[in-house]
């Protein structure tokens, strides 16, 4: 094995940790620019460029969103999934990546159940790799689309980013933080732009060490990551409530039964009623009636569908960045 290297292709997006605030600002600006472009002109941005989507996990919105984003830019895409490829025959991630590269893929979008798989793929192929979700680790485009959603909904400038961009904004992320790459990505990005992120949930789903996600990272004043066990107390301080899917099997072996979880942590109509300005977000997939009441998901305070739309927009920008093209 060659010496261990973390010199990835600069077009890669593996973790929000690799993004400087200036990178975030550039991605936001490119997102806005691509969004405002004439459709026909936009369809030439990545013309004759080839992109592989490599999915080892099922996905609705992320896969479709990357695919539609690429196609709207004129790129050629190919989808490889573990269910219908040589992966089933035991081909390694490295060999799969090298094969895609040999076939002309200029960048790879990867979703994988193992944390760190995108880092491996980026190392062995040297290609720009876009992380579309790896295990419990990262889902950086989700954090970027969440950022754009928050900025637009709160009436802030969504085409730039500084350490002050989210100053004074508090975001409560509630649910199965332990297993959530979405929570990690947001908690490791938003405070660097000035936000306070409160992670909320029971001990079993939210270990205390989550408070150290940004340990050693220099943060703007009053920004950072906190832990809360009481949703109502956390919502008192919140501008944004981001709810995460809860999988019933994850509650097995915890002190909480489903009913108790719903009582303590569901974003219910009653809770929402107390906070008429609270912005409601959810990365999906939603389990209505569990972590979030159906009415809350459908309420005007909910930005859930906008999140999906912004996902498409943000992914255009990271694809353009990956392939070094200019909008």
């Amino acid at each position: 094995m060659a010496a261990f290297s973390t010199a990835y292709h600069p077009g890669s997006l593996l973790s929000v940790e690799h993004l400087s605030i200036a990178d975030v600002g550039q991605i936001l600006a490119a997102t806005a620019e691509l969004e405002s472009m004439d459709v026909a002109a936009r369809a030439k941005v990545l013309e004759r460029r080839t992109l592989a989507l490599l999915f080892y996990e099922s996905s609705t919105r992320t896969r479709t969103s990357f695919e539609l984003a690429a196609k709207s830019l004129g790129a050629t895409t190919t989808l490889v999934s573990d269910k219908s490829s040589s992966i089933e025959k035991g081909e390694s991630l490295k060999d799969t990546g090298l094969t895609l590269r040999a076939l002309g893929a200029e960048a790879i979008v990867l979703r994988h159940p193992a944390s760190g798989a995108p880092e491996l793929l980026a190392r062995v192929t040297g290609l720009p790799v876009l992380n579309a979700g790896d295990g419990m680790h990262q889902h950086p485009t989700q954090a970027l689309l969440d950022l754009r959603t928050i900025l637009l909904r709160l009436g802030l400038n969504a085409a730039t980013a500084t350490a002050q961009t989210l100053r004074g904004i508090t975001i409560v992320i509630t649910g199965d933080i332990r297993h959530s790459r979405v929570a990690r990505s947001n908690a490791m990005l938003l405070p660097r732009l000035g936000a306070k992120v409160i992670l909320c949930g029971p001990e079993e789903l939210l270990p205390q060490e989550a408070a150290e996600l940004l340990a050693g990272v220099e943060l703007p004043a009053n920004a950072g990551v906190e832990i809360a066990r009481d949703l109502d107390a956390a919502l008192e301080r919140a501008d944004v409530a981001m709810m995460l899917r809860i999988q019933k099997e994850r509650l097995l072996g915890t002190a909480l039964d489903l009913g108790e979880y719903v009582k303590r942590y569901q974003l219910s109509q009653a809770r929402l009623g107390r906070y008429p300005k609270l912005l409601v977000m959810h990365p999906g997939p939603i389990i209505r009636g569990l972590e979030i009441a159906g009415e809350v998901a459908d309420s005007p305070q909910s930005a859930i569908e906008e999140q999906v739309a912004h996902g498409l927009a943000v992914r255009r920008a990271v694809l353009v960045r990956a392939l070094g093209a200019r909008a």
Binding site: M1, A114, S115, G116, D134, M188, E209
Partner: protein, 438 residues
């Protein structure tokens, strides 16, 4: 009559308490005589140069003994063979290594042990082995300890697959006690570590990896110590528990307390555990993945302190070669283990001697006299007249950089590629033969 002369060096033999300039004469595989410098001047004039080692500026120490190596033969010879693993051992100054039983098939019978120890395997050093404590290392049925000791076993272990059942571990400790050999335990409650690939804590959380808790190690150590006490009380035996590669402050505390109560507990420390922390994993470096995992800085410091205060009895490498394609996979899927034979001395002198003030003689003791006593080797681990002529000559001040590509091991899975080393082996003598010289 085969003679070998080692002259000009500083003999440090912790077992006999010698630390002085001495020349050493080896004859027919044994230490024949030790004299003040120049004491063999007449012989030096006539003995051919290839039978002389000029140890000027170097330390002459007992050959190093590693009670914990994986040589992968039989069955995994794409990773290492007994010949290649021991070729790496001599570069590191080791003259005796103890092979773990997790080969394919598992070394759990007198026949498999005899095959492994056969000279036909081409070992460059004294090869010893600890066969499996239970059949197939399945943890269900204790192997035939008497037959295995008769065939050369120096202890028993299910390394990597700890003996979890109290009754099986009790039976193993009792059988081993009757034969005067240790049971060597990989302390990990595997019921608590399913799906885990590194140390539990903030780093694992950030990387999205499941973590092994400190308790998963200490619980087994504490359980085994409890069994020792029960057996001493009920059976009137004195079983010997050897705890492999201790990695946590909590397990060290349990061992220290057990020693203070007079129980026969020994333990080993691996160079990677006293050198690195979990931060070495960085962005999923599978060459920093091993079991027990690299721990937090507080645990690393506790391990260094335990090496300084004598709680830790010996240094063992847990040399665990893996092919590059096996390591170049998703972190969670990568096998545990790193190579270690060629970096042990360089790390021990750098971290324990230079950075932490442990005298060189204590480093040598941890790598020779102490491991010899743990596995009951009476004729090795010391440079005294009549002992086996296992000698390591090293330059304790040599600063160099380890390069994985230069390794004699078949595998290059090491987190120490490019790492600074202090102290370099200049010659290794095994049973009176020069097996390595640089």
């Amino acid at each position: 009559m085969k003679e070998l002369l080692i002259t000009g060096g500083r003999l440090i033999d912790p077992a006999s308490g010698v630390d002085a300039l001495r020349d050493v004469l080896v004859r027919d595989g044994k230490i024949a005589a030790i004299e003040k410098p120049g004491g063999f001047a007449a012989l030096a004039k006539t003995l051919p140069k290839q039978f002389q080692i000029d140890a000027t500026g170097c330390i002459v120490a007992p050959g190093f003994i590693d009670v914990h190596v994986h040589l992968r033969e039989p069955g995994q010879t794409h990773k290492e063979t007994i010949a290649t693993g021991t070729a790496a051992a001599v570069v590191g100054g080791f003259t005796t290594v103890v092979a773990m039983p997790n080969t394919t098939p598992v070394n759990d019978s007198a026949e498999s042990l005899a095959w492994m120890l056969d000279t036909a395997r081409g070992s460059a050093v004294n090869l010893l082995a600890m066969p499996a404590a239970t059949a197939g290392s399945m943890g269900e049925r204790v192997t035939d300890f008497a037959a295995l000791v008769n065939a050369g076993a120096v202890g028993f272990t299910d390394d990597g697959k700890p003996v979890l059942e109290d009754e099986i571990m009790r039976a193993a400790l009792i059988s081993a006690a009757r034969l005067g050999v240790p049971v060597s335990q990989h302390a990990e409650d595997t019921r608590l570590t399913g799906g885990c690939s590194m140390n539990a804590g903030p780093v694992a959380f950030r990387l999205g990896l499941r973590g092994m808790t400190v308790e998963a190690e200490s619980r087994i150590v504490e359980r085994d110590i409890r069994l020792l006490e029960e057996i001493e009380r009920a059976e009137g035996l004195r079983p010997h528990l050897h705890v492999q590669h201790v990695s946590t402050a909590r397990a060290l505390a349990a061992i220290k307390s057990a020693k203070a109560r007079g129980l026969h507990v020994t333990c080993e420390a691996a160079p990677h555990h006293f050198t690195l922390t979990e931060d070495a994993i960085g962005e999923y470096n599978t060459n920093a993945k091993m079991n027990p995992p690299l721990r937090a800085e507080a645990d690393r410091r506790a391990l260094v302190a335990a090496l300084l205060d004598g709680t830790v009895d010996c240094i063992a490498t847990d040399h665990a070669p893996h092919a590059s394609h096996e390591k170049e996979v998703e972190f969670e899927r990568a096998p545990n283990g790193i190579t270690g034979l060629e970096t042990a001395l360089g790390l021990a002198l750098r971290v324990l001697h230079k950075d932490s003030g442990l005298p060189v003689s204590r480093v040598i003791e941890l790598m020779s006299a102490r491991p010899a006593s743990i596995i009951g080797l009476k004729d090795r681990g010391a440079i005294i007249v009549g002992a086996m002529a296992d000698v390591t000559v090293f330059d304790a001040g040599a600063e160099w950089q380890f390069r994985a590509r230069d390794s004699r091991s078949m595998s290059k899975n090491t987190p120490f590629d490019g790492a600074a080393m202090l102290g370099q082996v200049k010659a290794t003598v095994c049973a009176g033969r020069i097996v390595y010289r640089r």
